[in-house]
């Protein structure tokens, strides 16, 4: 059995940032286990720009953003195993993995950082009626075919779901010569960033159809078309609004799910809303010494925030390894009135820094007041011009405030009239 101070599962932006931060904090033996053949994670196929505006103050493409961290990792003696799949994490933090060079390996790690990212919600979860023709794929799969393998996954395209990957693929396919007929969104608002709606759809005259879904797929072998229909306020298709759109490809961009099979098997408690582990302010899960960051913890909108969160996890893991991480009483966090969840789910009252609470809202809010309460007491609040489900929000809680919270209390983030 191999022995490490820190094992990081996943070599995307989250895993790399966590590993680098832990190294900066003086942790010696670190290993990153990555299932793909390179570091970088999903950024390798995200060739569009828009990454790094917050973190680097530059507009980088995905590979460039990843490239900066990859270089830093290889400049250290952090060990990297690519093409390596983690099969299991045991209760006592033994990681079992395999690849075709080392075979089956077991690693005893003092601390583990989970950074496995997320996966796309597939068609089956939607129960769209119709044929099982080819040409129905997630936007991320299509993106891989175009940007990594160099093939066109389709020529005439309908996209279901206006998440950012769907919007980005609408532009990408158009630039490569495909005709994108429509982007259909079940909700009355888009789940993507405004900037992407403007630059990926409006620039190319691609219609965004809100409150609209695909009700049927047609075609025996390759897809030949889809039937779309408008939906009512209960998201049910409205009879009589059906429209047939000929297309050879249906791309799905209908949500991302944190990839927590390993966490679940290890008995790590997950948050019902985020589908990611429940963590403290240093992103430690309820499983001692196991931390989580990036999209495996909560689906982020910007990679810049993934990096920041992962540095917190890396720092937390380092403290844990050095025996400096505080144990003690926690206060719980929760969201209400449209605040769907809060990460972290709990905060140690003895913590040593300000804590940013991250969350998403369940619908579009305009000109509201965002408040953080403990019981009836408002501990801080801020006016917000606009909050949308597509964007991750945050609010900072000062260290002094945290220290002053009564033991056993819960702090609540809520939306109120301004």
């Amino acid at each position: 059995m191999l022995s490490y101070d820190l094992a990081v599962i996943g070599g995307g932006p989250a895993g790399m940032a966590a590993a680098l931060k832990a190294r900066e904090e003086g942790i010696e033996k670190i290993i990153i286990l990555e299932r793909a053949d390179t570091l970088g994670g999903i950024l390798e196929q995200c060739i569009h720009t828009g990454f790094g505006l917050h973190y680097f103050g530059e507009e980088l493409s995905g590979p460039e953003y990843a490239g900066r961290f990859i270089k830093q990792v290889y400049d250290t003696d952090i060990e990297v195993k690519t093409d390596t799949m983690v099969l299991d994490i045991s209760k006592d933090n033994v990681v079992t993995a395999c690849n075709n060079v080392d075979g089956l390996i077991t690693i005893k790690a003092t601390a583990i950082v989970l950074a496995m990212g997320c996966r796309e919600r597939p068609r089956g979860a939607l129960s769209i009626a119709g044929s099982r023709a080819s040409g129905i794929m997630t936007a991320g799969t299509a993106q891989k075919y175009v940007n990594i393998n160099g093939y066109m996954p389709g020529k005439t395209v309908v996209i279901l779901g206006s998440g950012d990957i769907g919007l980005i693929m609408a532009r990408r396919m158009t630039l490569e010569g495909a005709k994108v007929k429509a982007v259909c969104e079940l909700m009355p608002y888009s789940g993507g960033l405004t900037r992407n709606i403007v630059q990926c759809l409006e620039d190319f005259g691609i219609p965004l159809r809100l409150s609209c879904t695909v009700v049927k797929t047609h075609g025996k072998e390759r897809l030949e078309g889809v039937t779309v229909a408008n939906v009512d306020e209960n998201l049910k298709p409205i009879p009589g609004t059906e429209e047939y759109i000929p297309c050879d490809t249906l791309m799905l961009s209908v949500g991302l799910i944190p990839e927590n099979e390993l966490s679940k098997n290890a008995g790590i408690e997950l948050d019902r809303i985020t589908n990611g582990p429940s963590v403290d302010e240093y992103r430690e899960t309820l499983h001692k010494g196991v931390f989580a960051c990036g999209n495996v913890l909560q689906v982020h909108d910007l990679v810049d925030y993934v990096t920041q969160e992962s540095q917190i996890a890396g720092e937390g893991a380092a403290k844990y390894i050095k025996g400096e991480k505080k144990t003690g009483e926690y206060v719980k966090t929760q969201g209400e009135n449209g605040v769907r969840y809060i990460v972290p789910q709990r905060i140690n009252r003895e913590t040593d820094k300000d804590v940013k609470l991250y969350f998403r809202v369940g619908k579009v809010f305009k000109n509201v007041r965002l408040s953080v309460k403990c019981g009836d007491e408002v501990i801080m609040s801020r006016n917000k011009k606009k909050m949308t489900p597509g964007e991750m929000e945050n609010i900072l809680i000062k260290l002094d405030t945290i220290k002053s919270l009564p033991s056993g209390s819960t702090i609540t983030v809520t939306v109120e009239e301004a």
Binding site: N100, I148, M152
Partner: protein
């Protein structure tokens, strides 16, 4: 090419017939219009091995069901195909239905079904705590089971091909003529000559029979739709749970699968189009509403996929198996609807007996009746995995992360006798792409591996043959 026997149709019936016949010294072709075996009704059904109490005594359905169900466990053992003797329940929700299950019990006894029992509500709830409280009694059939129909077919075809049967894919029979005691099959890939023809063409067996002037087979295409639930819902049911049958079939069932998922369905609607396997909102809604009646805690959020199959319902309501009235060298196996899967092993032996009566062939000395168990990395312990990867590093590379399927298993599937040629073929043989992400992550890798192993460009690889291409030309 010239054969002694041409079997038309690579479904579970055709493949098992080939497997049985491959023990004799006869030259056999398995002629399949699709890119793989198990592409029709076999691919999309309830995957149930029925007790055998539904069909009327004296019918072929009754006889071959009971016999097939009896043979199934040992056959699956020989072929290393997962089979589970989980037993089945027919639930009765009213006094009228309680009377009906008594009728089924009596019928089962007449048909020779072993281990039937009528059990009380308390016993039902004890066996299946998730069954509705509305249940009054149930018919328990202890001999019933579950099997994976396409894995059974794939395994049978593998054994057949290993023993010399030639598997001809993408070969649609267009016309049949006869000259000097030899049938000439005109197909989409050329001419095939055979002295005997076995028609196991599923929904198209009426058309195949008509090619020799036999218009006696009358079929109705009956579609059934299903939902498949994620493995995390696998404990919802242990037995196969039926409701009382109606005139369209055995109704909607809730059953575990051998892979640990839960399957609910089928609906039943008669179709004009034989190959229309489109799912419909109405069909799926129907399945769900009926399934709720048996197991109220079913949650549709657990659905990972839905699908439909079309079964060939014979208007006579019984299997049509035997020599055609038009020829003593042409055997029909038609109208194989439920309990066709259960009966398939017995159908194969029955057809075998019909044929050897005429051919009286020698038995091969080197016949291999069994299939070696395919490598299943996911079922291995650490030590087995360690040794496996040491022997072949390709087993150390995980391709499908949801189901933990290795590159080695995919290579095995492609290079097996009658191996996979497309993405769905790999999926059915290995489960790669069958998990919760439904291939989102691994399908492009599977395409890469298929292309490399088959010496093709990635854009020549299909989902299931024909024009089901996955990608188009290169971008650059």
């Amino acid at each position: 090419m010239k054969y002694d026997v041409a079997v038309i149709g690579g479904g579970v019936v055709g493949a098992l017939i080939c497997k049985e016949l491959s023990k004799y010294d006869v030259k056999i072709a398995l002629v399949e219009k699709c890119n793989d075996v198990a592409m029709g009704t076999t691919k999309a059904n309830s995957a149930i091995v029925h007790g055998g109490f539904d069909a009327m005594p004296g019918t072929l359905k009754a006889k071959l069901n009971v016999e097939g169900t009896r043979i199934m466990p040992s056959l699956c053992g020989d072929l290393n195909v997962p089979y589970r003797n989980n037993g089945s329940l027919v639930l009765a929700f009213s006094d009228e239905e309680v009377e009906h299950i008594k009728v089924l019990y009596d019928r089962g006894v007449k048909n020779g079904v072993p281990d039937l029992e009528i059990i009380s509500k308390e016993k039902v709830k004890e066996l299946e705590p998730n069954v509705s409280d509305e249940v009054k009694a149930a018919l328990l059939s202890n001999s019933a089971g579950i099997v994976c129909p396409y894995e059974l077919t794939i395994a049978a075809a593998e054994v057949a091909v290993t023993n010399g049967v030639e598997f001809i894919r993408n070969c649609e029979v267009k016309a049949i003529s006869e000259q000097g005691g030899v049938y000439e099959l005109e197909t989409s890939t050329g001419k095939i000559e055979a002295r005997y023809v076995i028609n196991a063409a599923g929904n198209h067996s009426d058309e195949i029979a008509a090619m020799i002037g036999d218009d006696s087979i009358e079929l109705v295409a009956r579609k059934g739709e299903y939902y498949l639930l994620d493995k995390s819902y696998g404990s919802l049911a242990n037995h196969t749970i039926f409701q009382c049958p109606n005139k369209m079939g055995k109704g909607v069932l809730v059953t575990p699968t051998v892979d640990g998922n839960i399957l609910i369905g089928p609906s039943a609607s008669d179709e004009n189009e034989k190959d229309n396997t489109d799912t419909t909102p109405e069909g799926l809604e129907f399945v769900l509403s009926k399934a709720f009646k048996s197991v109220p805690s079913i949650n549709i959020r657990g659905a990972i996929t839905s699908f439909a199959g079309v079964r060939a319902h014979p208007v006579t309501d019984d299997f049509i198996i035997g020599y055609s009235d038009k020829s003593d060298r042409f055997i029909n196996c038609a109208g194989i609807e439920s309990p066709g899967l259960s009966a398939a092993p017995a159908i194969a032996r029955y057809v075998e007996s019909l044929l050897i009566e005429k051919l009286s062939p020698e038995i091969k000395k080197d016949y291999a009746a069994t299939r070696k168990a395919p490598v299943r990395f996911r079922h291995m312990n650490e030590q087995q995995r360690r040794e496996l990867i040491k022997k072949n590093p390709a087993y150390g590379r995980i391709i499908c992360r949801c189901e933990t399927i290795t590159e080695g298993e995919i290579l095995d599937a492609i290079h097996a006798p009658a191996g996979a040629r497309d993405v769905d073929g790999v999926k059915r043989r290995t489960r790669a792409g069958m998990g919760r992400c439904q291939g989102g992550f691994c399908s492009s890798k599977v395409v890469e591996i298929l292309a490399k192993e088959l010496g093709k460009d990635m854009n020549e690889i299909t989902k299931f043959g024909g024009n089901s291409k996955i990608i188009f030309e290169r971008t650059k």
